[in-house]
Amino acid sequence: MKAGKTDPNLAAVISALKAESRASGVGIWRDIALRLEKAKANWAEVNLSKLERYASEGDVIVVPGKVLGAGELSKKVTVAAYGFSESARAKIEAAGGKDLTIMELVKEMPKGTGVKIMG
Protein backbone atom coordinates (compact mmCIF):
# COMPACT_ATOMS: atom_id res chain seq x y z
CA MET A 1 0.00 0.00 0.00
CA LYS A 2 1.25 3.45 -0.82
CA ALA A 3 1.17 5.53 2.32
CA GLY A 4 0.52 9.02 0.95
CA LYS A 5 0.46 12.17 3.04
CA THR A 6 -1.51 12.02 6.27
CA ASP A 7 -1.52 15.77 6.87
CA PRO A 8 -4.70 17.05 5.17
CA ASN A 9 -3.23 20.56 4.89
CA LEU A 10 -0.28 19.31 2.88
CA ALA A 11 -2.42 16.97 0.80
CA ALA A 12 -4.65 19.93 -0.08
CA VAL A 13 -1.67 21.99 -1.27
CA ILE A 14 -0.37 19.11 -3.41
CA SER A 15 -3.69 18.45 -5.09
CA ALA A 16 -4.33 22.18 -5.62
CA LEU A 17 -0.94 22.57 -7.31
CA LYS A 18 -1.61 19.59 -9.57
CA ALA A 19 -5.08 20.88 -10.43
CA GLU A 20 -3.64 24.31 -11.25
CA SER A 21 -1.03 22.71 -13.48
CA ARG A 22 -3.63 20.62 -15.29
CA ALA A 23 -5.95 23.55 -15.82
CA SER A 24 -3.37 26.09 -16.99
CA GLY A 25 -0.69 23.85 -18.47
CA VAL A 26 2.03 25.47 -16.34
CA GLY A 27 4.52 22.74 -15.55
CA ILE A 28 6.32 24.28 -12.59
CA TRP A 29 3.40 23.82 -10.19
CA ARG A 30 3.26 20.11 -10.93
CA ASP A 31 7.01 19.89 -10.45
CA ILE A 32 6.66 21.46 -7.00
CA ALA A 33 3.74 19.17 -6.17
CA LEU A 34 5.84 16.11 -6.97
CA ARG A 35 8.68 17.43 -4.80
CA LEU A 36 6.27 17.99 -1.92
CA GLU A 37 5.04 14.43 -2.33
CA LYS A 38 8.47 13.09 -1.35
CA ALA A 39 9.27 11.97 2.16
CA LYS A 40 9.81 14.95 4.44
CA ALA A 41 13.36 13.77 5.15
CA ASN A 42 14.12 14.46 1.48
CA TRP A 43 12.53 17.88 1.40
CA ALA A 44 14.40 20.99 0.41
CA GLU A 45 16.03 22.83 3.28
CA VAL A 46 17.26 26.25 2.22
CA ASN A 47 19.20 28.47 4.56
CA LEU A 48 19.42 32.20 4.00
CA SER A 49 23.14 31.80 3.18
CA LYS A 50 22.12 29.75 0.16
CA LEU A 51 19.61 32.39 -0.91
CA GLU A 52 22.33 35.04 -0.52
CA ARG A 53 24.77 33.06 -2.64
CA TYR A 54 22.54 32.02 -5.54
CA ALA A 55 19.66 34.48 -5.73
CA SER A 56 19.95 37.89 -7.28
CA GLU A 57 18.09 41.07 -6.41
CA GLY A 58 14.39 40.92 -7.22
CA ASP A 59 14.27 37.16 -7.86
CA VAL A 60 11.20 35.07 -7.18
CA ILE A 61 12.27 31.83 -5.48
CA VAL A 62 10.08 28.91 -4.57
CA VAL A 63 11.29 26.35 -2.05
CA PRO A 64 9.37 23.06 -1.96
CA GLY A 65 10.29 22.64 1.70
CA LYS A 66 11.41 24.90 4.48
CA VAL A 67 13.47 28.08 4.60
CA LEU A 68 15.79 28.30 7.61
CA GLY A 69 17.50 31.29 9.14
CA ALA A 70 21.23 30.53 9.10
CA GLY A 71 23.30 33.22 7.41
CA GLU A 72 22.59 36.79 6.42
CA LEU A 73 20.47 38.10 3.57
CA SER A 74 21.14 41.46 1.92
CA LYS A 75 19.09 41.02 -1.24
CA LYS A 76 15.46 41.85 -1.77
CA VAL A 77 13.88 38.57 -2.87
CA THR A 78 10.40 37.12 -2.92
CA VAL A 79 10.47 33.67 -1.35
CA ALA A 80 7.59 31.21 -1.37
CA ALA A 81 7.91 28.02 0.67
CA TYR A 82 5.86 25.43 2.49
CA GLY A 83 7.42 26.54 5.75
CA PHE A 84 9.62 29.26 7.20
CA SER A 85 11.48 29.35 10.46
CA GLU A 86 10.66 32.44 12.49
CA SER A 87 14.16 33.87 12.15
CA ALA A 88 14.18 33.30 8.38
CA ARG A 89 10.87 35.10 8.03
CA ALA A 90 12.15 38.05 10.07
CA LYS A 91 15.40 38.33 8.11
CA ILE A 92 13.69 38.14 4.69
CA GLU A 93 11.32 40.91 5.70
CA ALA A 94 14.15 42.97 7.16
CA ALA A 95 15.96 42.79 3.81
CA GLY A 96 12.85 44.17 2.13
CA GLY A 97 11.78 40.89 0.57
CA LYS A 98 8.50 39.04 0.79
CA ASP A 99 7.65 35.63 2.20
CA LEU A 100 4.67 33.78 0.82
CA THR A 101 3.08 30.39 1.01
CA ILE A 102 3.25 28.42 -2.22
CA MET A 103 -0.47 28.85 -2.85
CA GLU A 104 -0.15 32.61 -2.42
CA LEU A 105 2.57 32.61 -5.07
CA VAL A 106 0.35 30.61 -7.44
CA LYS A 107 -2.33 33.22 -7.01
CA GLU A 108 0.10 36.09 -7.60
CA MET A 109 1.98 34.61 -10.54
CA PRO A 110 -0.26 31.93 -12.08
CA LYS A 111 1.97 31.70 -15.18
CA GLY A 112 5.07 31.00 -13.14
CA THR A 113 7.33 32.93 -15.51
CA GLY A 114 10.74 33.61 -14.01
CA VAL A 115 10.05 31.63 -10.85
CA LYS A 116 13.09 29.65 -9.70
CA ILE A 117 12.98 26.47 -7.70
CA MET A 118 15.67 26.26 -5.06
CA GLY A 119 16.67 23.33 -2.87
Partner: protein, 254 residues
Protein backbone atom coordinates in the same frame (compact mmCIF):
# COMPACT_ATOMS: atom_id res chain seq x y z
CA UNK B 1 -7.13 36.22 16.64
CA UNK B 2 -10.63 35.23 17.56
CA UNK B 3 -12.40 36.48 20.63
CA UNK B 4 -14.50 34.73 23.24
CA UNK B 5 -17.17 35.94 25.58
CA UNK B 6 -16.73 35.41 29.28
CA UNK B 7 -20.05 34.32 30.70
CA UNK B 8 -21.33 34.86 34.21
CA UNK B 9 -22.96 32.10 36.22
CA UNK B 10 -26.35 33.45 35.14
CA UNK B 11 -25.36 33.27 31.47
CA UNK B 12 -24.78 36.95 30.70
CA UNK B 13 -21.76 38.14 28.76
CA UNK B 14 -19.44 39.85 31.24
CA UNK B 15 -16.82 40.92 28.68
CA UNK B 16 -14.97 39.73 25.62
CA UNK B 17 -11.36 38.62 25.51
CA UNK B 18 -8.91 37.44 22.90
CA UNK B 19 -8.08 33.73 22.86
CA UNK B 20 -4.53 32.65 23.78
CA UNK B 21 -2.07 31.86 21.02
CA UNK B 22 -2.39 28.10 21.57
CA UNK B 23 -5.87 28.21 20.07
CA UNK B 24 -4.56 29.18 16.64
CA UNK B 25 -2.55 25.95 16.18
CA UNK B 26 -2.92 24.28 12.80
CA UNK B 27 -5.58 21.56 12.61
CA UNK B 28 -3.87 18.16 12.38
CA UNK B 29 -6.50 15.41 12.74
CA UNK B 30 -3.92 12.76 11.80
CA UNK B 31 -1.55 13.71 14.61
CA UNK B 32 -4.37 14.00 17.16
CA UNK B 33 -5.70 10.58 16.25
CA UNK B 34 -2.29 8.96 16.53
CA UNK B 35 -1.64 10.52 19.93
CA UNK B 36 -5.02 9.42 21.29
CA UNK B 37 -4.61 5.88 19.98
CA UNK B 38 -1.22 5.69 21.70
CA UNK B 39 -2.63 7.16 24.89
CA UNK B 40 -5.39 4.55 24.99
CA UNK B 41 -2.92 1.78 24.18
CA UNK B 42 -0.68 2.89 27.04
CA UNK B 43 -3.62 2.65 29.43
CA UNK B 44 -4.21 -1.02 28.65
CA UNK B 45 -3.58 -3.54 31.34
CA UNK B 46 -1.85 -6.83 30.60
CA UNK B 47 -4.15 -9.85 30.52
CA UNK B 48 -3.81 -13.56 30.00
CA UNK B 49 -4.53 -16.90 31.66
CA UNK B 50 -3.10 -17.62 35.07
CA UNK B 51 0.33 -19.24 34.81
CA UNK B 52 -0.11 -23.01 34.87
CA UNK B 53 -3.85 -22.88 34.08
CA UNK B 54 -4.88 -26.23 32.57
CA UNK B 55 -1.41 -27.62 33.14
CA UNK B 56 -1.72 -28.62 36.78
CA UNK B 57 -1.79 -32.40 36.22
CA UNK B 58 0.75 -35.15 36.45
CA UNK B 59 0.74 -36.58 32.95
CA UNK B 60 2.72 -38.86 30.72
CA UNK B 61 2.02 -40.52 27.43
CA UNK B 62 1.56 -44.23 27.00
CA UNK B 63 3.33 -44.01 23.70
CA UNK B 64 2.35 -46.30 20.87
CA UNK B 65 1.29 -49.89 21.18
CA UNK B 66 -1.96 -49.93 23.15
CA UNK B 67 -4.31 -49.17 20.32
CA UNK B 68 -5.29 -45.76 21.73
CA UNK B 69 -4.36 -42.21 20.81
CA UNK B 70 -0.89 -41.15 21.92
CA UNK B 71 -2.17 -38.20 23.96
CA UNK B 72 -0.71 -37.50 27.36
CA UNK B 73 -2.73 -39.06 30.18
CA UNK B 74 -3.06 -38.75 33.92
CA UNK B 75 -0.67 -40.99 35.82
CA UNK B 76 -3.30 -42.88 37.76
CA UNK B 77 -5.82 -43.47 34.97
CA UNK B 78 -6.48 -43.48 31.29
CA UNK B 79 -7.99 -40.00 31.09
CA UNK B 80 -6.32 -37.68 28.59
CA UNK B 81 -5.34 -34.33 30.09
CA UNK B 82 -3.40 -31.10 29.78
CA UNK B 83 -2.98 -30.80 26.00
CA UNK B 84 -4.97 -28.07 24.23
CA UNK B 85 -7.10 -30.69 22.52
CA UNK B 86 -8.22 -32.21 25.84
CA UNK B 87 -11.09 -31.10 28.05
CA UNK B 88 -9.72 -28.86 30.78
CA UNK B 89 -6.34 -28.62 29.08
CA UNK B 90 -4.17 -25.53 28.73
CA UNK B 91 -4.92 -23.07 25.96
CA UNK B 92 -3.05 -23.40 22.70
CA UNK B 93 -2.01 -19.81 22.03
CA UNK B 94 -3.36 -17.68 24.84
CA UNK B 95 -2.89 -13.91 25.13
CA UNK B 96 0.30 -13.44 27.12
CA UNK B 97 0.81 -11.00 29.95
CA UNK B 98 4.32 -10.26 28.69
CA UNK B 99 2.94 -8.65 25.55
CA UNK B 100 3.80 -4.97 25.30
CA UNK B 101 0.71 -3.03 24.26
CA UNK B 102 2.29 0.37 24.58
CA UNK B 103 2.88 2.70 21.66
CA UNK B 104 5.40 5.48 21.44
CA UNK B 105 4.71 8.96 20.11
CA UNK B 106 7.46 11.50 19.66
CA UNK B 107 7.52 14.23 22.26
CA UNK B 108 7.05 17.15 19.85
CA UNK B 109 4.33 15.28 18.02
CA UNK B 110 2.47 14.72 21.26
CA UNK B 111 2.76 18.41 22.07
CA UNK B 112 1.42 19.31 18.63
CA UNK B 113 -1.47 16.89 19.11
CA UNK B 114 -2.43 18.56 22.37
CA UNK B 115 -2.26 22.07 20.93
CA UNK B 116 -4.13 21.08 17.80
CA UNK B 117 -6.85 19.32 19.79
CA UNK B 118 -7.12 22.41 21.97
CA UNK B 119 -7.52 24.63 18.92
CA UNK B 120 -10.25 22.34 17.58
CA UNK B 121 -12.35 22.96 20.70
CA UNK B 122 -12.69 26.58 19.53
CA UNK B 123 -14.25 25.59 16.20
CA UNK B 124 -18.05 25.39 16.43
CA UNK B 125 -18.31 23.36 13.24
CA UNK B 126 -15.98 20.64 14.53
CA UNK B 127 -17.65 20.58 17.93
CA UNK B 128 -21.06 20.10 16.31
CA UNK B 129 -19.62 17.41 14.08
CA UNK B 130 -18.63 15.46 17.19
CA UNK B 131 -22.30 15.48 18.14
CA UNK B 132 -22.20 18.00 20.98
CA UNK B 133 -25.18 20.23 21.64
CA UNK B 134 -24.94 23.82 22.74
CA UNK B 135 -26.88 27.04 22.42
CA UNK B 136 -26.73 28.79 19.07
CA UNK B 137 -24.44 31.82 19.09
CA UNK B 138 -22.29 30.65 21.98
CA UNK B 139 -18.60 31.52 21.54
CA UNK B 140 -16.30 28.51 21.80
CA UNK B 141 -14.56 27.45 23.90
CA UNK B 142 -17.08 28.37 26.55
CA UNK B 143 -15.43 30.53 29.20
CA UNK B 144 -17.20 31.07 32.52
CA UNK B 145 -16.21 33.41 35.33
CA UNK B 146 -14.05 32.10 38.16
CA UNK B 147 -16.91 31.83 40.65
CA UNK B 148 -17.75 28.51 38.93
CA UNK B 149 -14.68 26.95 40.53
CA UNK B 150 -16.11 27.53 43.99
CA UNK B 151 -19.43 25.76 43.46
CA UNK B 152 -19.64 22.58 45.49
CA UNK B 153 -23.19 21.47 44.74
CA UNK B 154 -23.85 19.46 41.59
CA UNK B 155 -27.31 21.03 41.27
CA UNK B 156 -25.77 24.50 41.26
CA UNK B 157 -23.12 23.51 38.71
CA UNK B 158 -25.82 22.12 36.44
CA UNK B 159 -27.89 25.30 36.90
CA UNK B 160 -24.90 27.47 35.91
CA UNK B 161 -24.18 25.33 32.85
CA UNK B 162 -27.86 25.52 31.93
CA UNK B 163 -27.78 29.31 32.19
CA UNK B 164 -24.80 29.46 29.85
CA UNK B 165 -26.45 27.07 27.41
CA UNK B 166 -24.43 23.86 27.45
CA UNK B 167 -26.64 21.64 29.61
CA UNK B 168 -28.24 20.07 26.52
CA UNK B 169 -25.02 18.19 26.03
CA UNK B 170 -25.22 16.70 29.51
CA UNK B 171 -28.80 15.63 28.75
CA UNK B 172 -27.54 14.06 25.53
CA UNK B 173 -25.00 12.03 27.52
CA UNK B 174 -27.65 10.98 29.99
CA UNK B 175 -30.04 9.89 27.24
CA UNK B 176 -27.23 8.09 25.49
CA UNK B 177 -26.46 5.66 28.31
CA UNK B 178 -26.73 2.21 26.75
CA UNK B 179 -25.92 -1.36 27.62
CA UNK B 180 -22.46 -2.02 26.29
CA UNK B 181 -22.07 -4.32 23.30
CA UNK B 182 -19.94 -7.39 23.85
CA UNK B 183 -18.26 -9.11 26.75
CA UNK B 184 -17.56 -5.95 28.75
CA UNK B 185 -21.10 -6.35 30.16
CA UNK B 186 -20.02 -9.31 32.26
CA UNK B 187 -16.69 -7.78 33.21
CA UNK B 188 -17.88 -4.99 35.42
CA UNK B 189 -18.57 -2.32 32.81
CA UNK B 190 -22.19 -2.95 31.79
CA UNK B 191 -23.04 0.53 30.49
CA UNK B 192 -21.46 2.89 28.08
CA UNK B 193 -22.03 6.63 28.23
CA UNK B 194 -21.26 9.29 25.63
CA UNK B 195 -18.69 11.83 26.74
CA UNK B 196 -20.22 15.25 27.17
CA UNK B 197 -18.40 18.41 28.13
CA UNK B 198 -14.93 18.81 29.54
CA UNK B 199 -14.58 21.30 32.36
CA UNK B 200 -11.11 22.80 32.69
CA UNK B 201 -10.23 24.41 36.02
CA UNK B 202 -7.11 26.22 37.18
CA UNK B 203 -6.47 24.53 40.53
CA UNK B 204 -6.88 20.86 41.31
CA UNK B 205 -8.53 21.32 44.68
CA UNK B 206 -11.33 23.48 43.26
CA UNK B 207 -14.71 22.71 44.80
CA UNK B 208 -16.24 22.23 41.37
CA UNK B 209 -14.09 19.13 40.83
CA UNK B 210 -16.41 17.34 43.21
CA UNK B 211 -19.42 19.40 42.17
CA UNK B 212 -19.27 18.48 38.49
CA UNK B 213 -17.77 15.02 38.33
CA UNK B 214 -21.04 13.17 38.83
CA UNK B 215 -22.80 14.85 35.91
CA UNK B 216 -23.32 12.40 33.02
CA UNK B 217 -20.36 12.34 30.67
CA UNK B 218 -18.65 15.33 32.28
CA UNK B 219 -14.93 15.22 33.04
CA UNK B 220 -13.05 17.79 35.05
CA UNK B 221 -9.45 18.49 34.16
CA UNK B 222 -6.72 20.72 35.52
CA UNK B 223 -5.44 23.25 32.96
CA UNK B 224 -1.82 22.07 33.18
CA UNK B 225 -2.84 18.42 32.86
CA UNK B 226 -4.73 18.46 29.61
CA UNK B 227 -4.03 15.76 27.07
CA UNK B 228 -5.29 14.85 23.60
CA UNK B 229 -7.47 12.07 25.01
CA UNK B 230 -9.47 14.54 27.08
CA UNK B 231 -9.70 17.17 24.34
CA UNK B 232 -10.48 14.74 21.53
CA UNK B 233 -12.04 11.55 22.96
CA UNK B 234 -11.63 8.61 20.64
CA UNK B 235 -9.28 10.66 18.47
CA UNK B 236 -12.15 12.78 17.15
CA UNK B 237 -11.23 16.44 17.68
CA UNK B 238 -13.61 19.13 18.85
CA UNK B 239 -14.90 18.32 22.32
CA UNK B 240 -17.28 20.80 23.91
CA UNK B 241 -14.98 22.40 26.47
CA UNK B 242 -15.77 24.80 29.29
CA UNK B 243 -12.89 26.83 30.75
CA UNK B 244 -12.96 28.91 33.84
CA UNK B 245 -11.43 32.32 33.30
CA UNK B 246 -8.20 31.60 35.16
CA UNK B 247 -7.86 28.19 33.47
CA UNK B 248 -7.89 30.00 30.14
CA UNK B 249 -5.26 32.37 31.49
CA UNK B 250 -3.08 29.39 32.42
CA UNK B 251 -3.28 28.20 28.83
CA UNK B 252 -2.18 31.67 27.77
CA UNK B 253 1.07 31.05 29.64
CA UNK B 254 1.99 28.12 27.40
Amino acid sequence: MSKVNIYSLSGEVLRTEALPKAFSTQFRPDVIHRAVVAEEANKRQPYGPKPGAGARHSVSTWGKGRGVARVQRLAQGAKAAESPNNVGGRRAHPPRVERDWSKKVNRKEKALAKMSALAATADAEKVRARGHRFKEGLTLPVVIEDRLEGIESTTDVLAALRNVGVSDDIARAKDGIRIRAGRGKMRGRPYRMPRSLLLVVSVHDAAVVKGARNLPGVEVAYADRLNPGLLAPGGMPGRLTVFTESALRKIGEW
